[in-house]
Symmetry: C2
Subunit: 614 residues, 2 copies
C-alpha cells in the first residue's frame, strides 16, 4: 500500500534508457528551472532596502536609487565572474568546487556548508514571500500564511522527487508568466509617466539632504538590497544538466537571466520612488505599485490579480532552485566523503531523493523557527550566500593566476572586483548586523566539524578494508545454529528444517521473564513433544525484557563455537505479513534482538521469514 502511494505520488521507477538524454535542459527550460530564485527576489529585495531606510523617514527612500545602482554594479560583476566559473568548471559544483580546488578543501567546506544552509533559506524565504504575495491580494488568507508556506514546500518536494525534466516543464508557465507580466507592468508604468498620466509623487527629490541618513544606514540598506542577487550561483552549479554545448548554453542562460533581473530591479526601484510608495505591513510594496499602475477599474483589478498570482507562483518556483541545487551539492560533497553516502544514491525517478527530503525538512524547520517572517530571514540568507560568493571569486583569481602566471590580473579583473564587493558586504554584515547573523557562525562551525568527522571515518574505514597482500581464508570445522523460539508454531518447522540442513548442531532457545514463567514451561514441554531431537535451552530472564538474557547466552555459545572452530548462526524467525501496515503488529522483538546482536563478533544473524497468508 505504501509502495502504491509512493508510485502514485512520484511515479513508476525509471530505467536509464527512458531517463538519459532527454532529461537534459534546453536554455528555455533551464531559465525556468534555475533563474526563478534570482528573478523572484525583486518581490522582496527593493522592499527590504526601503524598510531599512524607513528607519529614518520615508523621505530617505530616494537613497534607494543610488543603492540600486550599486546593486546593479554588483550584479554585472557577479555575472561576468560566474560566466568564467562556468567555463572553467563545466562539470558543475559552483562555489564549493571552485573554492576547494583553488584555495583549500577546508575553505571549500565553509563555502559548501554555507550554501547548504543557504538553499534551505532560499526555500524558506521564497515560500514565505510567496505566501505574502498571496495574502496581499487576498487579505482573508492572512492568518494562514505559515500553513500556505509549508504546503508549498511539500508540493515542491513531491514535484522534485518525480524527477527533473517534469519539474522544468511544469515550472515554465509560471516563470515566463512572471517575466511577461512584470515587464508589462514596468513598461505600462513608464508609458504612463511619459504620457503624464502618472504624476510625480516621490517622498523626496533625488539628492535632497535628509537628516539622520548615515553611511552605516546606507550600507545596511545595501546589504539588504544585495539579497536580490542570491540566485546567480545556481546556474554555475547545474552546468551538467544543460544540453550540449553545456558551458556555452549555461553561460548564455546566465546572461539572459542577469539582464532580466537588472531591468526589473532598476525599474521597480525607480517606480517605487517616483510613486512615493512606502512599506506597509500586510501589503507588499510590489502589490501597492501594481495597484497604482494598473488602477482600480475592473479590468485593472483583473490584471492586478494576475500579477499577484504570477508573483506568488514565481516565488514558489524560486524555492525550487534550492531543490535543484541542494541535492547536487550534497552529491558532490558526499562524493568527496564529507557527507553520508546516502546522498550519492538516486531514487526511483533518477533524482537524488535524500537531498530533496533533507532540504524539505530543513526548510520547514526554518519556517517554524522564524514563523515565516521574511524580514528576519534575509540577513542570515545574505551572509550565507556572500561568504561562498567571496570565496569562489577569490578561488577564481587563484585559478587564473595559476593558468596565466604573471599577467593573470588582466583575466581576473571582474573576479577581483567581485571578490572585493563580496568581502565588503560580508564585513558590513558583521559590523552592522551581527545581531541578526550571529547564528551563521555556530552553524558553520558545527557543519565543518561534522564534515571533517565523516571524512575521517570514511577514510579510516577504507584503509582498514583495503586488501593488502594475499588472502587467508578461514576453514571452519563445524556449524552451530541457534534458533530463537517464542511460541511453538508452524513457523518453527521451516526454521528447524533449514537449521538442520546447514548446521551440524542445532540448539533451540527460549527465554522467559517472570511475568510469563508458567506459560513458558508449557511452551518448553510442547516444543519437546513436537521436536524431540532438538536440544532445547530454557532461560529465565531476571529483567523485564528478554534481550539481555538472550545476548548473554548467545555470547556463551559464541565462545564455545570459537573454541570448536565452528561458525555460529543465530536464526531468528520473523513473520512477513501480506500488507506492509501489518508490520507494526509483528517482529518488534526480532528487530530489537537483531539490533543488539549485530554488535557481537563472530555471529551471523539470519532471518527465517514465515509468510503469513492474510
Amino acid at each position: 500500500m505504501l509502495q502504491r502511494l509512493k508510485n502514485f505520488l512520484i511515479g513508476e521507477p525509471l530505467t536509464h534508457d527512458n531517463s538519459s538524454d532527454d532529461h537534459l535542459l534546453s536554455k528555455v527550460q533551464a531559465l525556468a528551472m534555475l533563474s526563478s530564485d534570482a528573478l523572484s527576489s525583486i518581490a522582496y529585495g527593493p522592499e527590504q532596502v526601503a524598510l531599512v531606510l524607513m528607519a529614518v523617514s520615508s523621505a530617505a527612500i530616494w537613497w534607494s536609487i543610488p543603492i540600486g545602482i550599486l546593486v546593479l554594479v554588483l550584479l554585472i560583476s557577479l555575472t561576468i565572474s560566474y560566466r568564467q566559473v562556468i567555463k572553467a568548471y563545466p562539470q558543475g559544483g559552483g562555489a564549493y568546487m571552485v573554492t576547494s580546488e583553488n584555495l583549500s578543501p577546508k575553505f571549500g567546506l565553509i563555502a559548501g556548508g554555507s550554501l547548504l544552509v543557504d538553499y534551505m533559506l532560499t526555500v524558506s524565504v521564497s515560500v514565505a514571500a510567496g505566501a505574502d504575495a498571496i495574502t496581499s491580494a487576498i487579505p482573508l488568507l492572512h492568518p494562514y500564511n505559515l500553513k500556505i508556506s509549508i504546503i508549498l514546500v511539500l508540493f515542491l518536494m513531491v514535484l522534485n522527487l518525480r524527477g527533473m525534466r517534469e519539474s522544468a516543464k511544469s515550472l515554465m508557465v509560471p516563470v515566463y508568466l512572471f517575466i511577461a507580466s512584470t515587464l508589462f507592468l514596468l513598461g505600462y508604468g513608464f508609458l504612463q509617466i511619459l504620457t503624464g498620466h502618472m504624476p510625480y509623487a516621490a517622498t523626496a527629490h533625488l539628492g535632497q539632504p535628509i537628516t539622520g541618513v548615515s553611511v552605516i544606514l546606507i550600507l545596511r540598506a545595501f546589504t539588504s538590497g544585495s539579497a536580490s542577487l542570491t540566485g546567480v550561483e545556481a546556474i554555475s552549479n547545474a552546468v551538467p544538466f544543460f544540453k550540449k554545448p553545456k558551458s556555452k548554453n549555461a553561460a548564455s542562460t546566465l546572461f539572459i537571466m542577469s539582464s532580466i533581473l537588472g531591468i526589473m530591479f532598476a525599474g521597480i526601484t525607480f517606480l517605487n520612488w517616483w510613486t512615493g510608495i512606502t512599506p506597509h505591513s500586510g501589503v507588499t510594496m510590489l502589490a501597492q505599485l501594481a495597484r497604482e499602475i494598473l488602477g482600480d477599474s475592473w479590468f485593472g483589478s483583473i490584471l492586478f490579480y494576475i500579477f499577484q498570482f504570477s508573483t506568488a507562483m514565481i516565488l514558489a518556483v524560486a524555492a525550487n532552485t534550492g531543490f535543484s541545487a541542494f541535492p547536487m551539492l550534497s552529491f558532490n560533497m558526499a562524493k568527496n566523503k564529507y557527507m553520508p553516502h546516502i546522498y550519492l544514491e538516486k531514487g526511483a525517478r533518477m533524482a537524488y531523493s535524500n537531498g530533496i527530503l533533507t532540504l524539505a525538512i530543513g526548510a520547514i524547520t526554518l519556517l517554524f523557527i522564524f514563523r515565516g517572517n521574511t524580514e528576519r530571514l534575509i540577513p542570515l540568507y545574505t551572509i550565507g550566500v556572500f561568504v561562498p560568493f567571496a570565496l569562489s571569486q577569490t578561488g577564481m583569481v587563484v585559478h587564473w593566476s595559476r593558468e596565466y602566471g604573471k599577467g593573470f590580473w588582466k583575466h581576473s579583473l571582474a573576479n577581483i572586483l567581485g571578490a572585493l564587493i563580496c568581502y565588503g558586504i560580508v564585513l558590513i554584515l558583521i559590523l552592522f548586523r551581527l545581531g541578526d547573523i550571529w547564528p551563521f557562525f555556530p552553524i558553520i562551525a558545527i557543519l565543518m566539524w561534522m564534515f571533517l568527522k565523516i571524512k575521517k571515518h570514511y577514510d579510516g574505514v577504507a584503509q582498514q578494508l583495503r586488501i593488502d597482500g594475499p588472502i587467508k581464508e578461514h576453514h571452519f570445522q563445524g556449524n552451530i545454529v541457534l534458533i530463537l523460539v517464542g511460541n511453538v508454531t508452524k513457523a518453527n518447522i521451516g526454521a528447524i528444517s533449514y537449521a538442520r540442513s546447514i548446521g551440524d548442531k542445532v540448539i533451540a532457545m527460549h527465554v522467559s521473564t517472570k511475568d510469563t514463567e508458567n506459560k513458558d514451561k508449557e511452551i518448553e514441554q510442547e516444543f519437546k513433544k513436537y521436536f524431540p531431537e532438538i536440544e532445547m535451552v530454557h532461560i529465565q530472564s531476571p529483567y523485564s525484557s528478554i534481550t539481555q538474557s538472550t545476548i548473554q547466552y548467545v555470547d556463551e555459545v559464541a565462545t564455545q563455537a570459537d573454541k570448536d572452530n565452528a561458525t555460529l548462526t543465530v536464526l531468528i524467525p520473523q513473520f512477513v505479513p501480506k500488507k506492509s501496515w501489518q508490520n507494526i503488529l509483528h517482529n518488534q522483538t526480532s528487530l530489537r534482538l537483531k539490533y543488539y546482536l549485530k554488535w557481537r563478533e563472530n555471529i551471523v544473524i539470519s532471518s527465517y521469514s514465515y509468510h503469513l497468508k492474510d
Copy 2:
C-alpha cells in the same frame, strides 16, 4: 552514546528482583499518583461553568450554586458506583473491562477507544491549565504558554519512563502541597466571611430571576462543570498497583479523593459567587479568588505565589494520571489483541514504554492543534469521559443482575442513577454542543475499525500458525549461498569463509548501474583475482538503483534452488561501526535490500557483520 543518553534519562535497566513488591503503591502514594486529575480540575471546572453562564450576564453566575449541587450529586453517585467496580474487578481495567465483559466486546471497544483519546486530552487540558496558572501569576510568561505546556509533557514522559514508584515519590510533594494550600485558602476565606472581613459582593442574589437564563444554558453549564469529575475512573483502572489488600485500599483511596474533591468544588463555587468574581482572559478565576482572600500585603503575596505554584504543580501532576492509566489500558487492549503487541512489552525500567511514548506524542499533537486552548478542549474531553462512564455503569447494572437475579436493583441503585445522569450528560452534549464535540464520532469510528482490523489479523495469524497434527520436517539436499559483493574488501574474506562452511555452492553477485559501469568491471576483475574459486555473476541494472535487478536475480536462483531441493541463503555483508551515530554512514543499501528480499519466499537472509575498528 544513545544508549548512555537513554540510561542517563531513564536510569539503568531494572531486574524483577529490584522491582517487584516495593513498586506497589501505598494509599498515600496512590492518592498522589491517581487523584491529581480529579482534584486539579477545580482549577478550571468552576470557571468553565461561569464562562457558559457569562454568555447571558455576570448576574447569571448565581446559577453556578445549584449547578454545583448537581455536580456534587453526580460525584457521589460516581464514587459509590466506582467503589463497586473496584470490588467486582480487582484486576483493574476500568470501564473497558467492565463494559466488555457485561455488555459486549464492541461496546468495550467504544469505552476503551474513548478513554485512550481521553487520557490524551487529560494530559493536554491539564498542562494547558497548568501553563495558565503560571502565566496568571507571572504575566511576562504569557507568550510562552504553549511552550511551557510542551515542556511539561516531555518532563512527565521522562519521569514515567523511569518507572512507577519513583513517579509516585516525586509527585507526592506537589499533590499534598496543593491539597493543603487549597484547604487553607478555603478555610481562611470562610473565616473572613464569618468574621465579617470579606463583604458580600455577589453579582446577583441566589434565586434572583435573570432574563435570558434558559434550561439549555443551565444544561450546557452543567456539562462544563461535570468536566471536573473526569478523573474518578483512574483509580478503578489501577487496582493492581495497590499494596494488599488491593481492592480495599483502592476503594478507600477513592473515597478520600472524592471527599476532598467535593469539598474543594463546593467551596470554590460558593466563594466565587460570594466575592462576585467573573471570568477574565489572562487571569484565571481561581487566581482572582486567591488574590481576593489573601490580599495584597507582602505576606499575602507570598501566599498567593505559593498557591499559584501549587496549582500549576498539581495540574502538571494531573497530566500524570494519563501517564499511569493510558499504558495500562493499552496493555489490557493489546492483551485482547485489539492493539499491537508492542503495548505488552515492558521497558528497561518495568514501565510500559510504548504506551507512554504514544501518549506523549498524542498530547503534544493535541496541544498544537488546539494551540493550548483549554476552553475548546473541555467539551471533547467531557464527551470522551462520559461515554465510557455511562457504558461502565450500564455494565455494572448487568453485572449485578447476573449475580443477584431478580432483586438486583437494590444493589445497583447507585449504578442506575449514575448511568442515567451520564447518559443525560452525553445527550445534552450531543443536543447542545455538537459543534464542539463532533470530532469525537469520526475518531471513535476510526479507532473501532482499527481495533477490529488488528484483532482479525492476530486471530487469523494464530489460527494459521497452530500446529494441528504431526510435524513434517523438510529434508533439503543442498545449500546454496549467494553473497552480495559491493567493493572488494577485507569484509568479503570472512563472508566467503562462512559461506563455504555452510554451503555446497557459493555464488558471488555484483550489480552495477550505468553510472558506475567502468568501475564495476574493475571490481569484477579484482574479485576474480583474489577469489578465483568462487563463481562470480555481474549484473547490469537498467535502473538507477540496484534493488530491482538484485531481486530479479535472487528470484531466479531461488527457483533453481527449489528445483534442486536446496536451501538458499542470501548473505549480505554489513558494517558494524564502533559508535552508533556512524550507522547513518553505512549499510543503507543492505537495509533496503533486506527489506525488499524479506517479501520473497524460500529465502533466508543472513547478515555477515564486519566490525569496524574506529
